[in-house]
């Protein structure tokens, strides 16, 4: 598990560092780790957006990501929430998301399984998928599995539209890194598991020639940067499943609550007496 988590997080860190974007919007602990690592991999000025109004911070990889106070450095600037969408529209932002379904045209779904409006399984909702997929900004899809359930010929509900032709959309899975081209997804590099995994998810239409570069180990420099950014290995949670994921989540929650308590204690000690 840590193999896939490290391989993909390190790969995403390199992708972000090389993407020439101004702002990366974090959506999960692994994306925080990748964005922080990208700063050390050639994008020192990358701004990181947390939530809708916190910009240019250095959030810690955490399960309480929405708590924008989990910053080790940098400002949590208050700004117009619409800025997120301005940055997307101008092609200056990057975001990595994990839709419940992704299809061969690059359409995404996080609304539900089943017909639109009549879900057999209701999922969280469209979130920002209708906004980021059609934008000229960079979007990565990073998935913990390469399964036929998630990678389909056509999504049940189109939340994210097929991306405009000139945009770059890449998919990172345990089978490797794939890019959306004019005729569908094609491999940039693959893992040695790819033949088996790709065959089990035929809906996406990926064809392997056997000539693709094989990458099974993370780039050591990128991995070192990821580990420095995420020393508590919070990124592993989103690549785990079932009881193991629950146990990792619980341990992280306890650790973060205790760290937050300690931070508040420090603030009390330095902020002076309470007026009463």
């Amino acid at each position: 598990m840590s193999g896939v988590a490290d391989l993909l997080t390190a790969a995403l860190a390199r992708e972000i560092a090389d993407a020439n974007i101004r702002v990366f919007a974090v959506t999960s602990p692994a994306t925080v780790a990748a964005a922080l690592a990208a700063r050390a991999l050639g994008a020192p000025n990358l701004a990181i957006a947390t939530g809708f109004t916190a910009l240019d911070g250095s959030p810690l990889p955490s399960v309480t990501l929405g708590e924008a106070g989990l910053f080790e450095a940098g400002a949590a600037l208050r700004d117009d929430p619409f800025d997120t969408f301005v940055l997307l529209a101008r092609g200056r932002a990057g975001v990595a998301v994990a839709p419940a379904q992704l299809d061969r045209r690059g359409q995404t779904n996080l609304s539900g399984v089943g017909p639109p409006g009549r879900p057999k399984v209701a999922l969280p909702g469209a979130r920002g998928l209708p906004d980021n997929n059609v934008s000229p900004s960079r979007v990565w899809f990073m998935l913990a599995g390469h399964s036929g359930r998630q990678l389909v010929e056509r999504v049940d509900v189109v939340c994210g539209a097929a991306p405009p032709p000139s945009t770059v959309r890449r998919l990172l899975t345990p089978a490797g890194c794939f890019e959306l081209g004019e005729t569908g997804w094609y491999p940039r590099w693959v893992t040695s598991q790819a033949p088996e995994l790709v065959a089990a998810a035929p809906g996406l239409g990926i064809e392997l020639t056997g000539q693709e570069p094989v990458v099974d180990e993370p780039d050591p420099v990128a991995l070192a940067a990821v580990r420095r950014a995420d020393p508590e290995d919070v990124r592993l949670i989103e690549f785990a499943a079932g009881a193991q994921a629950a146990a990792l989540y619980e341990a992280a929650a306890v650790r973060e609550a205790s760290a937050a308590g300690a931070r508040r204690g420090e603030q009390r000690a330095t902020a002076g007496p309470v007026s009463s």
Binding site: T50, G51, F52, T53, A54, V63, T64, L65, G66, E67, A68, G69, A76, R78, D80, P81, F82, T84, F85, L88, A89, S111, G112, P116, G117, R118, P119, K120, V121, A122, L123, P124, G125, A126, R127, G128, L129, P130, D131, V134, S135, V157, V158, C159, G160, A161, A162, Y249, E250, A253, E256, A257, A260, R264, Q267, R268, A271, V274, S275, S276
Partner: protein
Amino acid sequence: MYGTLGTRYHFNQSFGRRGERAISLPNISLEQLAAEVSNGATVGLGGAGLQRKPMAAARALARAGRRDLKLVSFLGSLDVELLVAAGCVGELHSAGVSLDGAGLAPHYRAARQGQTLTFVEWSEGTLLCALQATARGVPSLPTWMALDTDLPALNPHLREAQDPFTGARVMQVRALALDVAILHAPAVDAHGNVYVEGDLAIDGTLARAAQRVYVCHEGVVAADPRRAVLSRIWVDALVPAPRGAWPTGCHSEYGPDLPAVSRWASEGADGDLQLLTPNGSAR
């Protein structure tokens, strides 16, 4: 203690410091707030995910037996769960509802699968546009967002149109007006300005799109008004509500109670609202 926001006043303290005047905004109770929200009202709730959800206010609405609310929760969590479980919601507007790392939201999920309420599905950007349209006083606003998706079929506020100047395809987003916005903040000052550390989410836009704005808060501080994130001019009443975001977090004061959130994820499907009620309190 309010992090670095300022020095806390006691709730009972008079605001007699030189240069400061007492709060001129009405200071009301959670019960009064609930009484001022009528059945069928369109109610926007602040915060996002597991941060700064006005849970004490939601509990008050449930206790008051509100029905057929049109609930607007940009990114919902236990706020939506509580009000749906209590039978208060007739129509739900949201870009997503979940319990973050703790998993899916059981009542939201059941309501959509059983179609027991009207769910109006938004994207984050289009919901922001709909509220901005109201704030700007226009019936709709055009955007590039949500084009070529299934959202217009799931949301009567979205309709593809042609830009009158260029003929370009645009998504026209109909204004969404709130009767009431209810926010939860860690602190307000003696004038009623609102202070939040970390992410404000879309609370500022909700306030500007609402007829009446209630700010629940953890306490009153002496703070630099230049650091306020929402001016008192957008606020109609203040509602003292210590720990009123629980079990969600109120950053700088307390984080989300993740064990309580997980408990709701695993046991909340039965609708036992005690799971969302603080220990030993009717609140």
